[in-house]
């Protein structure tokens, strides 16, 4: 069973990261400091039940593993996600996508350009086609999951 709280708890953790960690990241110039923060972002997320580490939630195409849960509010049409990854950098990068995408409606998502933030942070190389870290696969899964729900 997916505990429904996981989506509201993740949403509030993501808001917190957006308000507190993102401005910090945007100010940093050297890669070490940036990655140091990126690798700790995952700690701010609510605990992800190991019971949800199931193949049905696994995103294919990742060097590391990523599990993605999705929920759409039937009243507001907003999309919410909860996720986990066994690698810290990818986990941080997925957070940087979701701080922008979580809680958007289908229409808003269609126009969202989450890669712009990665460009700004000079982390865009992580989302290139040639990377095997799976971030692009996660982004595609976020977009496709939404499409199949509407």
């Amino acid at each position: 069973m997916i505990r429904p709280d996981i989506f509201t708890e993740t949403a509030s953790a993501l808001k917190n990261i957006y308000a507190n960690h993102l401005p910090q990241l945007q100010q940093l110039k050297d890669w070490q400091s940036k990655y140091r923060i990126l690798m700790t972002l995952g700690k701010a997320l609510p605990a992800f039940d190991s019971e949800w580490h199931r193949d049905e939630f696994l995103v294919q195409g990742c060097e590391s593993k990523a599990w993605l849960l999705h929920y759409q509010d039937p009243v507001t049409n907003q999309h919410f996600w909860a996720f986990d990854s066994d690698a810290r950098i990818v986990k941080g990068l997925i957070i940087l996508l979701l701080v922008q995408l979580n809680g958007l409606t289908t229409e808003e998502l269609a126009h969202a350009k989450p890669e712009l933030l990665l460009n700004e942070l000079q982390l865009q190389q992580n989302i290139s086609q040639s990377r095997s870290n799976g971030l692009l696969a996660v982004l595609n899964k976020i977009k496709n999951g939404v499409r199949s729900h509407c």
Binding site: Q32, Y35, R36, E63, A87, I89
Partner: protein
């Protein structure tokens, strides 16, 4: 012959194009010396025509160059005949042809095949596709505690009378050199056909297929300083003749009617379609280039690089080394305790150190080792001690960042 590293490096144009990178992903693919680039360029400029089939003199010229390349490979392996060299697109394609070809003429339902825990997927999945569904059983030689080939267990498993024994010459994930002389001798004494996956082994040491008495040996051009898309399936004539062709089409036939076709002689029978002519010529150029180098000096240099790196890694206590430093062809697989290999590799990538992270197309090995994967550092003749030292510094930086 002297080993002059800077003279050697100057022959590889890739390095001047990327002076700020340290390339330690050599087990994935090697860079190419100018001689190989020149040979391929020269082929397309001066010799390009389709081989074996056209009536004109240009085609004959191309055919002569193409068959000369086959002879170069035959001499390199000390094969008895040039027709024992079958061109493939690489080791993976070679294995698919080999396993498919053995099914029926050699392998039948109830037969057994013996592989090892260290095999690359290319020596596992073709057996799953072409042999297992027809009732062939796959047995696996386990690892010793030191992650080595377990010869005692192998001897026991040979009592199951496998028809085919198929083992890697060098483990692609760990770098460990397998005891191939013992493997071939024991397997043949047990009546099995012996296949060696030479993808990582061919660049390490001189392979004499007759002296080794191996029945099949496979390798890829691009892991031997040659181009991608070309590889070799060597086989003894009497066994190659047994193989059913995996691919049918042009060149591989004698006669074709709408109801049936009869097949051509070796090697063409197993080489359907227009071959990778420039690739074959590039591979031959790589072999000729390598034969001008001092292979023993290459070995000593790679071993020295490995030891320097290994000793440096031992100073970082949180690292778990999966490879051993002896009988190793130049690969160190390691993990940082409690961290994902992808994180360590990403932090090295930030510092322009090219390594591979993951399970290196050997998932069953990592299941046996009970780890998620590893970061693999693989060394080549053209790497320097300075690169090793800079990599160790970068590794220490990455470890510090992950420890925070």
């Amino acid at each position: 012959m002297n080993f002059d590293l800077s003279a050697l490096r100057q022959q590889f144009p890739f390095f001047s194009a990327h002076p700020d990178w340290i390339y330690l992903d050599n087990a994935a693919t090697l860079h190419k010396p100018q001689a190989v680039l020149d040979a391929m360029h020269q082929f397309y400029r001066n010799q390009n025509s389709n081989v074996h089939r056209s009536a004109h003199g240009l085609s004959q010229q191309a055919t002569a160059a193409f068959e000369a390349a086959r002879n170069t490979v035959a001499q390199f392996l000390n094969a008895r005949y040039a027709h024992e060299i079958i061109w493939t697109s690489g080791t993976t394609a070679g294995f698919n042809q080999l396993v498919f070809g053995l099914m029926g003429p050699v392998l039948q339902a109830g037969d057994r095949v013996l592989i090892s825990s260290m095999e690359h997927h290319a020596n596992i999945v073709p057996w799953h596709i072409h042999a297992q569904p027809f009732g062939v059983q796959l047995d696996v030689v386990p690892l010793t505690a030191e992650h080595r080939f377990d010869l005692a267990a192998f001897t026991e498993l040979l009592k199951l009378k496998p028809k085919v024994v198929s083992i890697s010459h060098v483990s692609n994930a760990l770098g460990h050199i397998q005891p191939i002389n013992d493997i071939v001798r024991l397997a043949k004494a047990a009546g099995a056909l012996v296949v060696l996956d030479g993808a990582q082994g061919i660049v390490w040491e001189k392979v004499d297929v007759q002296q080794l008495d191996v029945d099949f040996y496979l390798f890829s051009g691009h892991k031997l300083y040659g181009p991608t898309g070309i590889g070799v399936l060597y086989g003894k004539t009497q066994y190659l003749e047994l193989l059913r062709p995996l691919l049918g089409g042009g060149e591989m036939i004698k006669t074709v009617s709408f109801s049936a076709s009869s097949w051509n002689d070796l090697p063409y029978r197993l080489e359907a379609g227009t071959p990778n002519m420039a690739g074959a010529i590039g591979l031959a150029a790589a072999i000729l280039w390598l034969q001008q180098q001092d292979l023993t000096a290459f070995q000593h240099h790679k071993t020295a690089l490995l030891h320097r790196f290994y000793t440096g890694c031992q100073q970082i206590s949180a690292l778990e080394l999966l490879s051993g430093p002896t009988t190793n062809a130049g690969i160190v697989a390691l993990n940082l305790k409690n961290e994902h290999p992808a994180d360590l590799a990403a932090l090295l990538d930030q510092q322009k150190i090219a390594v591979r992270a993951g399970t290196h197309c050997a998932m069953p090995l990592f299941q046996a080792l009970n780890v998620k994967g590893s970061v693999r550092f693989s060394f080549a003749s053209y790497n320097s001690f300075d690169e090793i030292d800079r990599t160790l510094t970068a590794l220490a930086t990455a470890v510090e960042l992950l420890a925070e």
